[in-house]
Amino acid sequence: MSTLLIVQTLNGLQFGLMLFLVAAGLTLVFGVMDFINLAHGVQYMLGAYLMALFAGLTGSFGLGLLLALPAALACGLLLEALVFRRLYGRDHLDQVLATFGIILFLNEGVKVAFGAAPLSVPMPDWLSGSFRIADGLLYPVDRLAIIAAGLGTALLLWIVVERTRFGMLVRAGATNAPMVSALGVDVQRLFMLVAGFGAMLAGFAGAMVSPILSVEPGMGDGVLILAFVVIVIGGIGSVRGAFIGALVVGLADTLGRSFGTDLLKAALGASAATRVGPALASMLIYIVMAAVLFFRPAGLFPARGRA
C-alpha cells in the first residue's frame, strides 16, 4: 500500500507538473491580455506532433526536442500575428468563437498532415528502464525525467517572472495592462512575447509526454479544460497560483482514481463503493474547483490588484 501510495503520488506529481506547463501560458495570456485562448490546448498537441516529426527525422530524442521547441514558438508567434492580435479588447465570447475555430482547423490539419492514427515517439535508451527509489520500489526513469523537467521549467519560469525586467512587465501587465501601456511600454511586443512563449511552454509539455502518451488529433482538448480548471483554482494571472493549482489537480485526480474506491469501501460497503467510487473520482477535481470558487471566487492566489 505504501509503495503504491508513493508511486501514485509521483504519478500525480508528474501529471500536475505537465498541467502546470500548459496552465502557465494560459494564465499569463488570460491575465495580461484578458484573452480567452481556447487554442492553447492545440498548441500542446502541436508540440507533441512537432516532436514526433523531428524525432523521426533526426532519429534522436534530444535533437528532436531542440528543433520542436523553436518550431512550437514559431507556431505560437504566427497564430498571435494572424489572429490573436486582432482579438485583444474584443468580447470574451468573440474570442471563444474564433479560437474554437482554430481548434477545429488545427485538429483537422494534423489529421491531414500526419494521418488520423496515433503516432508514437520512441523512448530514447537513456530514459528507458526503471530507477530504484527504495527496496522493492522501482519507478520508470522517463517519468522521473518529466518530473525533473517540469520542476526545472517551473524554477526557470519563477526566476524569469520574479527576477527579470521582462517578468516585472508581465506581472504589471497581469495587474493593469492599460497602465503599463500608458507608462510607455511597447505592449504589443509584450503581448506577442507572452503569447509566443506561452505556446512554447504548452508545446514543451506536449513534447515531453509524447513518448508516454499516444500522439493523436484532439489530444489537447481534455488538457485545455484541465488547464482552465487549474488557472481558476489558482487565480487568473498568477504563475504561483497555476503551480499550486496544477499540483492540486494532478494529485487529487491521480490519488482519487487509485484510492477513492478503497477509501469509500470503509464508509459505504464494497458494492456501493465500486459503483460510486469511479464516478466520484472523476468528479473530484470539479468538486474541488466548485468549492474553491464558492469560497474564493477569485481563486486561491489572485494576481495582486485583481481580486
Binding site: 488570460f30 480567452i36 489572429v83 486582432r86 482579438l87 474584443r90 470574451h92 465570447l93 468573440d94 474570442q95 471563444v96 468563437l97 474564433a98 474554437f100 475555430g101 482554430i102 481548434i103 477545429l104 482547423f105 488545427l106 485538429n107 483537422e108 490539419g109 489529421k111 491531414v112 482538448d221 479544460i225 482552465f228 480548471v229 481558476v232 487568473i236 459503483r275 460510486v276 469511479p278 464516478a279 472523476s282 468528479m283 470539479y286 468538486i287 474547483m289 466548485a290 470558487l293 464558492f294 471566487p297 477569485a298 481563486g299
Partner: protein, 308 residues
C-alpha cells in the same frame, strides 16, 4: 427581427409539403434535428445573450431531458407528457440547486463553475450502469401521447418539434419584453444600478437560469426521441461549448440569432462534410472570419454592414 422569425417559421412549416419536389425523409429528419438544437440554443441565449450569464454546462440540461425520456421508456413508462413533466421537474431542480451556488460567482468563475456542475452530471450519467453507463441507452420506442403512437410518424414528429420551437421562441420573446426580462437585461449592463432600483438581481438571474434549463431539457427530451438513443455524450463539455458557439455565431441577445446560429452550424457541418471529410479545415477558418470581419455574429451581417 420579428419578420426574420416569421419567414423562418413559414419556410419550416412548408418544408414537409415540398415532398413532391423531392424532399426526402433524410431532409425532414435533418431539419428536425436542426430545430431541436435551435430550441437548446434559444434557451441558452435567454441567459447568455439577455442575462450575460455564460453557462458552460448547458448540455447537462439537454442530457437531463434526454435521460428522462430514455429511462422512463426503459422502465415501461412511454407517455410523452409524463416524460416531459419529469424532464422539466428534474431540470428545474438541478438548475435551482446549482444555480443558487453559481450565482455567487461572476465572469469567468461563473463559466467554470457551471462547467463543473455540467461535468458532475456527465460523470453521473456515465455511472448509470443499469441504463447503459458510458455506452448509452437505446429507446426501443418513441414516447406515446395518451397511449397513441402519434410521434412515430416523421412528419407528425417534425411538426411537434416545430411547435415546440415556436412556443419556446414566443416564450423567450414574451419574457424578455416583460418587466422581469427588462430587469434581467438591465442587470447584464449594470447589476449595481438594477439592485439600487430595488430588484433582487440574484433572484432574477436564478429564475432566468431555471427557465432556460427547463427549455433546454425540452430539447433533450425531443433529441432522445428523435435519435432513439441517449448516451453521456449528450452532456459532454464539448456539447456545451457547441451550444455557446451556435449562440455567438448567430448573434447573442437576439432570439432569431440563436436559431440562425444553430441552423448555420449544423447545416454547414452537414453540407461541408458532403464535399470533404476534412470539412473542419473550412469550418474553422469560417468561424474565425465571422469574428474578425463582423460584430454580432451572422445576425450582425444580416442587419447590414457587418461592422457595427
Amino acid at each position: 427581427m420579428l419578420v426574420t422569425l416569421v419567414i423562418l417559421f413559414a419556410v419550416l412549416a412548408a418544408l414537409p409539403w415540398l415532398g413532391a419536389l423531392g424532399v426526402k425523409g433524410y431532409v425532414l429528419s435533418f431539419a428536425t434535428r436542426m430545430m431541436i438544437f435551435a430550441i437548446a440554443a434559444v434557451s441558452l441565449d435567454f441567459i447568455l445573450g439577455f442575462g450575460g450569464l455564460v453557462s458552460f454546462g448547458h448540455a447537462a440540461y439537454m442530457g437531463i431531458g434526454a435521460y428522462a425520456a430514455g429511462i422512463l421508456v426503459a422502465e415501461g413508462q412511454e407517455d410523452a407528457l409524463l416524460g416531459l413533466a419529469v424532464a422539466l421537474l428534474v431540470a428545474a431542480g438541478f438548475a435551482a440547486a446549482t444555480g443558487a451556488v453559481a450565482m455567487r460567482t461572476k465572469g469567468v468563475a461563473f463559466i467554470m463553475i457551471t462547467l463543473a456542475f455540467g461535468q458532475m452530471a456527465y460523470f453521473v450519467a456515465n455511472a448509470l450502469s443499469e441504463y447503459g453507463g458510458s455506452d448509452g441507452l437505446t429507446l426501443w420506442t418513441r414516447s406515446t401521447v395518451f397511449g397513441q403512437k402519434l410521434l412515430k410518424s416523421e412528419t407528425v414528429f417534425y411538426y411537434v418539434v416545430l411547435g415546440c420551437l415556436v412556443a419556446c421562441t414566443a416564450l423567450v420573446l414574451a419574457l424578455t419584453g416583460s418587466r422581469f426580462g427588462r430587469a434581467l437585461r438591465a442587470s447584464r449592463e449594470n447589476p449595481a444600478r438594477v439592485a439600487a432600483l430595488g430588484y433582487d438581481v440574484d433572484r432574477i438571474r436564478l429564475a432566468a437560469y431555471v427557465v432556460s434549463a427547463m427549455l433546454c431539457a425540452v430539447a433533450g427530451f425531443l433529441l432522445a426521441n428523435q435519435s432513439s438513443f441517449v448516451s453521456p455524450g449528450v452532456m459532454s463539455w464539448q456539447r456545451s461549448g457547441e451550444l455557446i458557439v451556435m449562440v455567438v455565431l448567430g448573434g447573442m441577445g437576439t432570439v432569431a440569432g440563436a436559431i440562425v446560429g444553430a441552423f448555420a452550424f449544423l447545416l454547414l457541418e452537414e453540407l461541408l462534410s458532403l464535399v470533404t471529410v476534412h470539412w473542419k479545415l473550412v469550418f474553422g477558418p469560417f468561424l474565425v472570419l465571422v469574428v474578425l470581419l463582423g460584430r454580432g455574429g451572422l445576425m450582425g451581417f444580416l442587419r447590414g454592414g457587418g461592422r457595427g
